[in-house]
């Protein structure tokens, strides 16, 4: 056998048990266990119930945070949102994350293509009926060269970004952005924006009426089950994160393993979530792939414990087994006396 083979072989000489047996009713044990666990689950359900906060909708988002909605829509149009520059599996606008020479995200390619300008803004606007001004604005936008469209979108998005940044920092926001409290309309007084203000105003109206929620899940089928587009659009904005922060669900709040309310959540993800709280993962642009690779290696390690020298020997060195089998050992000691 090779040296590696010798190292991995555990030299296991455990012999089959040749000692005494005691009566043991496995089926009865299983029935009792199922009864006990079911009873415990029922008691916990009665005492603590389960969380069920209503989902956010684009209609709610556009009504409660209209400036945030408009700013996000402008970024989708300008191609500067998180989703717009995400890369695979949504688009080719980025390479995605990597670890050294490993570009798994890029290698697996674009499987759910999303063009944020068309899918989140232009296509939903095409479904709005009886609006000649919007039709003209869309025609002007689509007829323009890409560089012009980007210049319009960027000119419109910039004051909104400044408005949001100032609001976050508690400073006075720029006066070029104003919000009508009664109608929920948002006005951006900027030059060189072409037809974009008209388009975004219509998108805001469509969203506030609830029409955009339906538009973003629409496909060629009648029945819909894929919420990728509305979820990505909403996650580019601030509403989901705002709600998540209140319920301690953000990444820096160990968010992945928590759930709303005071429920245990996915506590089994504690080790996965831990890495995001410590360097070098915490500040890395490739934190996700690094954490996933570390967890992949640790998972492989868990499976391979019987083959890992040192780790497989710890149970012999740390005598917890004497506690587990203390009755057996005391019986043996008694018999030996």
């Amino acid at each position: 056998m090779s040296r590696l083979g010798n190292l991995l072989r555990s030299h296991d000489e455990t012999k089959p048990w040749s000692g005494a047996y005691a009566p043991y009713d496995l089926i009865k044990e299983l029935f009792v266990a199922v009864g006990a666990v079911a009873l415990l689950a029922v008691i916990l359900a009665i005492l603590f119930s389960s969380p069920d906060q209503r989902p956010s909708t684009i209609a709610q988002w556009s009504r409660s945070l209209p400036v945030d909605f408009v700013a996000t829509a402008a970024k989708e149009l300008a191609g500067t949102s998180s989703t717009a520059g995400y890369g695979p599996p949504y688009n080719h606008n980025g390479e995605g994350q990597h670890a050294a020479f490993i570009y798994l995200q890029k290698w697996l390619g674009v499987s759910h293509p999303i063009n944020t300008a068309n899918d989140f803004v232009v296509d939903p606007l095409k479904t709005v009926p009886n609006d000649p001004a919007l039709r003209a604005a869309l025609a002007e936008y689509q007829a323009a060269p890409e560089s012009t469209r980007n210049a319009w979108s960027t000119a419109y998005a910039k004051p909104l970004e400044e408005y949001e940044a100032a609001s976050e920092e508690g400073k006075t926001p720029p006066s070029v952005v104003s919000q009508n409290a009664s109608t929920g309309a948002v006005t951006v007084d900027a030059k060189g924006t072409g037809p974009v203000p008209r388009m975004i105003a219509s998108l805001l109206s469509l969203a506030q009426s609830g029409g955009l929620d339906g538009s973003l899940v629409a496909s060629n089928q009648f029945f819909q089950t894929d919420y990728t587009k509305p979820l990505l659009f909403m996650s580019d904005g601030g509403l989901l994160a705002k709600r998540a922060e209140v319920d301690h669900l953000l990444g820096e709040q160990w968010g992945m393993m928590n759930e709303t309310g005071s429920y245990p959540g996915q506590t089994w993800l504690w080790l996965y979530t831990l890495w995001y709280q410590v360097e070098p993962f915490k500040s890395s642009e490739n934190a996700d792939i690094l954490v996933m690779m570390v967890m992949g290696l640790l998972s492989l390690g868990l499976i391979c414990i019987p083959f890992i020298p040192g780790v497989r020997s710890l149970p012999r060195r740390i005598p917890i087994y004497r506690l587990i089998w203390r009755e057996h050992y005391s019986r043996q000691a008694g018999a030996g006396r």
């Binding site: 555990s10 296991d12 000489e13 455990t14 000692g19 005494a20 005691a22 043991y24 009713d25 496995l26 089926i27 266990a33 199922v34 006990a36 666990v37 079911a38 689950a41 916990l44 603590f48 389960s50 069920d52 906060q53 695979p88 994350q97 798994l104 995200q105 697996l108 390619g109 894929d226 990728t228 990505l232 909403m234 989901l240 709600r243 998540a244 319920d247 990444g251 992945m256 759930e259 996915q266 089994w268 996700d288 992949g296 868990l302 499976i303 414990i305 019987p306 497989r312 012999r316 060195r317 740390i318 005598p319 917890i320 087994y321 004497r322 587990i324 089998w325 009755e327 057996h328 019986r331």
Partner: protein, 229 residues
């Protein structure tokens, strides 16, 4: 082609003989256990299976009534709560069971496959639970899906496992992954029945060995040459 006289000629007969040989009825359903099987730690294995049964039972009711039922009715919410707490109990019991088996070095005596099926069950149970969390159709589902997508996308898994696609996640949660967990647990239990519960470290032998070399030793603080149990 000739067939050995003591082997059945049919495929069915051969399968029956192989199965019975590997797991004779007295091994599959014994009415006695070695006397060392006497510790609270053994409870957590059967508690994991019992929790899984409660999860499957409550999950079946939830899926029979459809994914929206539990949001609209008190009874539905109650069954969802049972499902949630059974999952929490399942993971708790399974983690204690895994730790217990680690400290017993339960892979000894040709039981490596028992350990591997147990560890893989734990790892497969994690995406099974995750797909449940993202299939809830509430704010938790929205948030967890938008967060989980980044980790999965970063390693390319997102290309074929899209946590923001409710239809796909629901299929994984109510059928594919539970089947994998149930299959793994079944294999794990059959392997335990075949090999029996791992015996204790042979303290008597070790004490004798250690006593000869070092009188007064407890025999528990070292490892014999060749990691002999």
């Amino acid at each position: 082609m000739s067939v050995a006289p003591n082997r059945p000629a049919s495929w069915t007969g051969r399968v029956r003989e192989t199965v019975v040989e590997a797991l004779p009825p007295e091994k599959l359903l014994p009415d006695g256990q070695p006397t060392y099987v006497a510790s609270w730690i053994y409870v957590f294995g059967v508690a994991s299976i019992a929790s899984l049964i409660v999860i499957v039972g409550s999950g079946t009711i939830l899926s029979l009534k459809g994914p929206a039922w539990w949001h609209d009715t008190g009874v539905g919410h109650f069954f969802n709560s049972i499902h949630l707490w059974a999952v929490e109990l399942f993971f708790f019991a399974m983690v204690v069971h895994l730790w217990g088996k680690y400290w017993m070095a339960a892979w000894r005596g040709g039981r490596v496959r028992v350990w591997i099926t147990g560890a893989v069950t734990f790892l497969v149970a994690i995406p099974t639970a995750l797909t449940g969390y993202v299939s809830q159709q509430n704010f938790d589902a929205q948030w967890i899906a938008t967060q989980a997508k980044d980790g999965l996308n970063s390693v390319g898994v997102g290309a074929f496992f899209n946590v923001t696609n409710f239809g796909q996640m629901y299929s994984f949660h109510v059928l594919l992954l539970p089947m994998a967990v149930i299959g793994l647990v079944s294999a794990h239990v059959l392997l335990v029945r075949r090999h029996g519960v791992v015996p204790p470290f042979d303290l008597e032998t070790r004490l004798a060995q250690l006593g000869a070399a070092e009188p007064g030793s407890s025999g528990a603080s070292n490892d014999a040459p060749g990691e002999r149990p």
